[in-house]
Each structure stands twice: as C-alpha cells, then as structure tokens.
Amino acid sequence: MGTGLGLGVGVAALGVGIGLGLIGNGALQGMARQPEAIGKLQVQMLIALAFVELVFLLTVFVAPFLIK
C-alpha cells in the first residue's frame, strides 16, 4: 500500500513541478521584457502557483482514500 501511495505522490509531484516551472518561466520572461509590470506579474504568478499547488495537495489527500 505504501508503495502505490509513494508512487502516486511522486508522479503528482513530477507533473506539478513541470507546471510550476512553466509558470515561473513565463513570469520571469514577462518581467525581463517589461520590468514596470513586475508588481502585477508577481501577484498573478502567485495566484497561478497556488492553483497548481492545489492539484498536488488534492492528490496527496485523495490518494490515501483510494487505496483500501
């Protein structure tokens, strides 16, 4: 049981890591192109990060219920 749980969490972390990297990439490029917009971009980036993070957290909390 622990193996499946660990594997699922690992796969979820992989996908969420890619998503967070993409968001950071986009935000950094935008900031480099337009330094005046850094304030707005940071806030929007944080919101997007929160939504992506939530997917991982949902996985972590739903996975133990699926394995029975």
Binding site: M1, G2, L5, G6, V9, Q34, E36, A37, K40, V43, L46, I47, A50, E53, L54, F56, L57, L58, V60, F61, P64, F65
Partner: protein
C-alpha cells in the same frame, strides 16, 4: 479519518509516530487564543503611536506598511470600491500570518489543522456571498451564477452553467482550506522527515535547511488566501459603471 492518520507514517522514512502529534480541540482553541492575544497586544501597542503626525512607534509603522500593502491589493484587484473590504482582508492576513509563524517557534500551528482552516474558508466564502447579495440584490447575485445572458433554447445551457457555478462556489471552501492546511501541515511533515534524517549526527537538518522556505511559505500562504478572497469579491461585486473608469492604471510604455 484513519486514512488521514496513515499519511504521516507512510510518507515518513521512519514511522515512529513523530508526525502524528496533533493537539485536541481544546489545545487548538488555546493556540488560537494565543494568536489572538499576540495580535491584540501588538495592535494595542501600535495604537499608542497614532497621535503624532509622523509615526515614531516602530510597531505602528509596521502596521501602516501592512495596511498600505493590503489597500494596494484590494484596490488593484477589486477596484475603487474595494476600500471597504480592507478590514476583513487585513483580519484574514494577520490571523493567517501569525497562525503560520507560530509553527516556527512552537510545536504546532493553528493553521496546520483542517478544522480551523475550513472555518476560516467558510467565513470568507460566506462573506463573499453576503457582499454579493448586498451589492446586486438576491436575484442579481443568483444571476451571476448563470453566466452570460442567452436566449431561446440556450436557456438550458444557462441552467447547466448555474449548477456548475454552484458546485464551484462550494468547492471554493475546499480549495481555500485544503491549500492552507496542505502547505502548512506538509511543511511540518517535511521538517519532521528531515529531522529524522539528521537524527544520527545530532543536527536538526529540517529546522536548519527548511526554515527559510517555511518563512516564505508563511507569507505566501497568507497572501494567497487574502488575494483569492479579493478575487472572489471582485467577481461578485463588480458594477457595470466600473468598466468605464480606468482603475487599472496607465498602460506601461513599450520599450
């Protein structure tokens, strides 16, 4: 609930029940009372420095900066009428931030418990509904849920959108509370696991290595909770005349 208790031991390298030390409801209430006492003490001390023209009290200056930050956030995301939501947002921010920062000094934080977070999320979403009803009226608020105005047979789609929006409104509670709980509680689990790794060489690895990222998480989670509440408020309370006034600032010149 036993599935929740299985998360800790199975994710940790050594399952000695280290992570499964959650206080009872009374302990949680004591922690929340402690957070409130800290907040009240700080703010009553900050209130003493209000009388002068330029604030000399450092705590007063700190709260002034915090107020400016929250005000900027409210106005940039809600619009000019967002100023009246500042007290609620400020309360959320300070409560979550002090609750998060407790975990760096004490063995437990109130925000690492799902019940407290769910209570706060229910208050936040209920407040959003209340403000939406107060701004647009009851039926105007319900009309927000049914999406754009469609005609003819497309009314069926409006009904579908209505149901989906209701579900997403309920899921806002879940997402707000679970995000905060998962981040803070997950941080504790990670610190415990790292501490177990450094147990043999008597170095608290988790407390040393993960401390900066935990401080960052404390600030960011408080910011995200308030920011998302602001966004939800802006979705339900926007007026028609707000679209005309340029409250988004001047567009930056291209270089």
């Amino acid at each position: 609930m036993d599935a929740f208790q299985q998360i800790g031991p199975s994710l940790l390298a050594s399952a000695d029940g280290v992570a499964a030390k959650e206080p009872s409801m009374t302990g949680l209430a004591a922690y929340i009372a402690f957070v409130l006492i800290i907040l009240f003490a700080l703010m009553s001390y900050a209130k003493k420095g209000l009388g002068v023209r330029v604030f000399k009290n450092p705590i007063t200056r700190l709260f002034e900066q915090l107020y400016l930050f929250i005000e900027n956030m409210c106005i940039s995301s809600i619009g000019q009428h967002g100023r009246k939501y500042i007290p609620m947002m400020m309360t959320f921010w300070m409560m979550i931030f002090v609750g998060n920062i407790m975990a760096l000094l004490f063995p437990f934080a109130p925000t690492a418990d799902l019940s407290f977070n769910l209570g706060m999320a229910l208050i936040a979403v209920g407040y959003v509904q209340y403000e939406g009803i107060r701004t647009n009226g009851f039926f105007g608020h319900l009309r927000h849920f049914s999406g754009p105005k469609l005609s003819g047979v497309m009314v069926v789609i409006s009904g579908l959108i209505f149901i989906i929006e209701l579900i997403s409104e309920v899921m806002k509670n879940v997402s707000l509370s679970l995000r905060l709980y998962g981040n803070i509680h997950g941080g504790h689990l990670a610190v415990d696991a790292m501490n177990n790794l450094g147990n043999k060489i008597y170095i608290p690895l988790g407390a040393l290595v993960l401390l900066p990222i935990k401080v960052l998480t404390c600030v960011v989670q408080a910011l995200i909770f308030t920011m998302l509440t602001c966004v939800y408020l802006s979705l339900v309370t926007h007026h028609e005349e707000d679209h005309a006034e340029p409250d988004h600032g001047q567009p930056a010149p291209a270089h």
